[in-house]
């Protein structure tokens, strides 16, 4: 899981044998040989090492090739054949991911399959695939809730499907954060869906940001050394901006920011050496234009965290220039 190498177990075959297998498989790729014999060889290599992207590309060609072949069938038999094809492809990636949950190419292949399915198959079937995909993501996140592939995949699946994130998605993230709040991916996911969810409802967005400030407060008080909540906190203090809109929700409202500064002060009386609290305090003081105090905070940080001395010097310099 976290802090553990993604490739825990070595391939079953010894490496020399594996290399010869991989070479053989790559050779078949070049020749565009889609016979079942060639396919099983490629699958075998992929299961051992799902990072071989050329082999996944071979699979993509194979899928497109197959679809072209069955295009002219009767609708009923086309559906059956296509379903069989996609099921076996999904299963292959699942096996590969089971072995190496952090293989980029395998995740990409699933995205390709979903896109292709959406393009070629009737909606009834591809909706089923999407639904199943979200279920698998949830299950994967149960096993390792910090696997960012799972989170990113969830987002992408939604994008391909053409759906906006829903309240349920927000609820899903909330549950994950309740399960473990030291989860950068979950906080990040939250920061991506919130602006989209409340795109045209500024008032509601304002309320949601306030609620989240409360939530993040619980996290930073429980564990002030944990970075992930502080990053989300900073995002909220910046006014929860999104990629699409540069307008932030808190830009004119300094009342909330002042309240948050008081809360930070409260935490700093308990934990005077908390680096993240000091850094956030610096950020707020800078917004308020209180440059003298902001500089004092930076000096404290330089003493507390000598490894990042240069960074704090840079911040000081930057502040002086702007003021």
């Amino acid at each position: 899981m976290h802090g553990v190498r993604s490739y825990a177990e070595p391939p079953e075959e010894d490496s020399a044998r594996f290399i010869s297998l991989a070479k053989e498989a790559l050779e078949t790729c070049k020749q565009r040989d889609f016979s079942s014999q060639a396919l099983s060889l490629v699958n075998r290599v992929l299961e051992l090492n799902p990072d071989e992207y050329s082999l996944w590309n071979y699979h993509k060609r194979f899928v497109l090739n197959e679809i072209e072949k069955i295009m002219n069938y009767e609708p009923a038999s086309f559906q059956e054949a296509a379903e069989q094809l996609f099921d076996s492809e999904f299963e292959l990636t699942q096996r590969a991911l089971y072995r190496h949950p952090k293989a980029y190419s395998a995740w990409q292949h699933r995205i390709f399959l979903l896109k292709t399915a959406k393009y070629h198959l009737p909606s009834k079937i591809y909706e089923g695939y999407f639904k199943k995909e979200l279920e698998i993501c949830a299950k994967l996140l149960d096993l390792d809730d910090r696997n960012f592939h799972g989170w990113a995949h969830r987002m992408r699946v939604g994008d391909i499907r053409g759906l906006q994130p829903s309240r349920e998605e927000l609820q899903f993230v909330t549950e994950r954060i309740y399960g473990n709040f030291s989860n950068y991916s979950a906080w990040h996911h939250r920061s991506r869906i919130l602006p989209i969810l409340f795109k045209d409802q500024r008032d509601q967005y304002y309320l949601a940001v306030q609620e989240d400030l409360e939530l993040v407060k619980q996290a930073i008080f429980t564990e002030p050394e944990d970075q992930s909540a502080w990053f989300y906190f900073r995002w909220l203090l910046r006014g929860a901006p999104s990629y699409q809109t540069t307008v932030s929700v808190l830009d004119i409202d300094n009342e909330i920011l002042k309240k948050e500064l008081c809360i930070l002060e409260e935490l700093l009386t308990l934990e005077p050496k908390c680096k993240w609290a000091l850094l956030t305090k610096f950020y707020l003081l800078q917004i308020f234009g209180d440059f003298d105090n902001a500089e004092t905070v930076l000096t404290t940080l330089q003493k507390l965290d000598p490894l990042r001395n240069g960074y704090y010097m840079y911040l000081k310099e930057k502040m002086r220039r702007s003021s």
């Binding site: 899981m1 976290h2 802090g3 809730d145 910090r146 309740y178 399960g179 473990n180 709040f181 030291s182 407060k217 619980q218 996290a219 008080f221 429980t222 564990e223 002030p224 944990d226 809360i263 409260e266 935490l267 308990l270 934990e271």
Partner: protein, 546 residues
Amino acid sequence: MVHEEAINMDTDLKDGYFDVVVVGTGLAESILAALLASNGKSVLHLDSKPFYGGDWATLSLSKLKSYFASCYLSENGVSEPKKTPTELQDAIRQNEHFQQYTDIALLPVLENSSFSDVQIVDSAEEWLNRAMVDLTPQIILGNGETVDMLVQTQAASYLEFRGVDEIFWLDESGQLQKVPTSRNDIFRSMLLTPVEKRIFMKFLKTCAVYEPSLFQYEGHDGGILSAGQVVNSSEEIAEMEQVQKWCDCSLCLDNWLDELHFTDRLKHYVFALLGCCGEKYESCAVATAVERISQYCCAVQRFRISSGFLYSKYGSGDICEALCRRCAIHGGVYLLRRQVTYLICDSSSQVIGLVTGNGDLIRCSVVIGSTSLEVKYTDSSWTRRISSDKGRWKLYLILDRPVLLPGKGVDLFTSHLVVQSQNNESCLVEGIQVEQQVDSVHTVYVIYLSCDDVENGKIALLLSLQKLMHPIDSHLCHSSSDLWQLLKQFPGLKYACIGFCRDWEPIIQLGHYYSCYLTKDIHSIQTQIDQVFHLYDYITHREWQS
């Protein structure tokens, strides 16, 4: 559960010599028997009852009923020996092994029944007879001497455990408050203020450093430390110094926690956690509290369960049986349904043997028994030993629905109750709820409540039960008989039994008539195990290495 072959085993003990005879198969006695046998001592382990575990046994409801019925009948379980004392004296003189002793004294031994004032409500159906009830349910802290002992003796290989799911605190208004047991619990808690969260987390993390084995268990998200968290060595040293300062502090626990700015709610949490470790909040020294909390933190880290406490899956009696099995593997001899009727002493009052209920003569050099055993010292002074004024009221309940919600697995709760008496005394009530699958159709909830206040314990137990069941109108009844009537109307009640379990005054007379005594029913093995190790050290002249 009961090993029939052990009962029927008619070992020829006539010329038997044993290094140690252990009387009673309670938890402490079983631990000693297992430790001594693995040390190479020859051990004879006797119990007058037909099952293992004594007052720590796990009985099916049908057996529990007959057990309590026997408590009614005989306050003192004296059984008449087959031979009169003079016949025995003759028999001993004729015995070649005893011929070297010129002067022999026979000291009668009584076994006291521990339960008294038993009251029962029984509306149990036939199928319920298979439900298992612990006489003294044990909650084991997942890290510490008890677990080490179970691992070292290999008794753990016969045992299965389930984790305690939730720990609750029953507040004055009858509301159950969950005690947060991990960083996520603290984060999620709706009741704690952010400042309280910080204080409590800091307290747990600093205590945790005290336990050196903490860092051998990887951090995980359900624990105190987060996954992959590495404690900075300089920070660690600072925390170590802090802990040392705490341990040297001479304040009482409550004042100490005041100094750490603990609020009442946080104190209740510490109270509940210490209670589960078998320590009393009022009398616990700061150093002990720090040690227990650190063991607790380590246990949470070690087992990926929601709290750091373990409960034997098949009841606490299973632990006794597992230990006895280890003892038997090392050559220990077991006899159930066998009482000790006399101790045989030489002229210097040293124990040289004993006589069992069916007249067997056994030679030995050490006898270990629990304090429920009573020895008549000389012929002239047949003084009944005054039982201590200590004891514990116990309430056993079987319900078809949980009292503590959501009622999955094993839950604990503690409660401080003010009983309406002349002094308005407050008593501590401890409770355990265990979800139990009786058969494929039926699930029952076995609830154990106990209180060590002799005078008010019974009312306190019934009051707390009433609070649990009807949090709103808990001011209704005051007298215990009213409450007992009320209990009968509780929905889902299948079986209820309340009784007083007496602590007999411990007498430790090393090297004398009795070689040693074990105090019985200190309720928690956690607090008793030091004494067991001490006895072991004394008998073997060797320190037990964990």
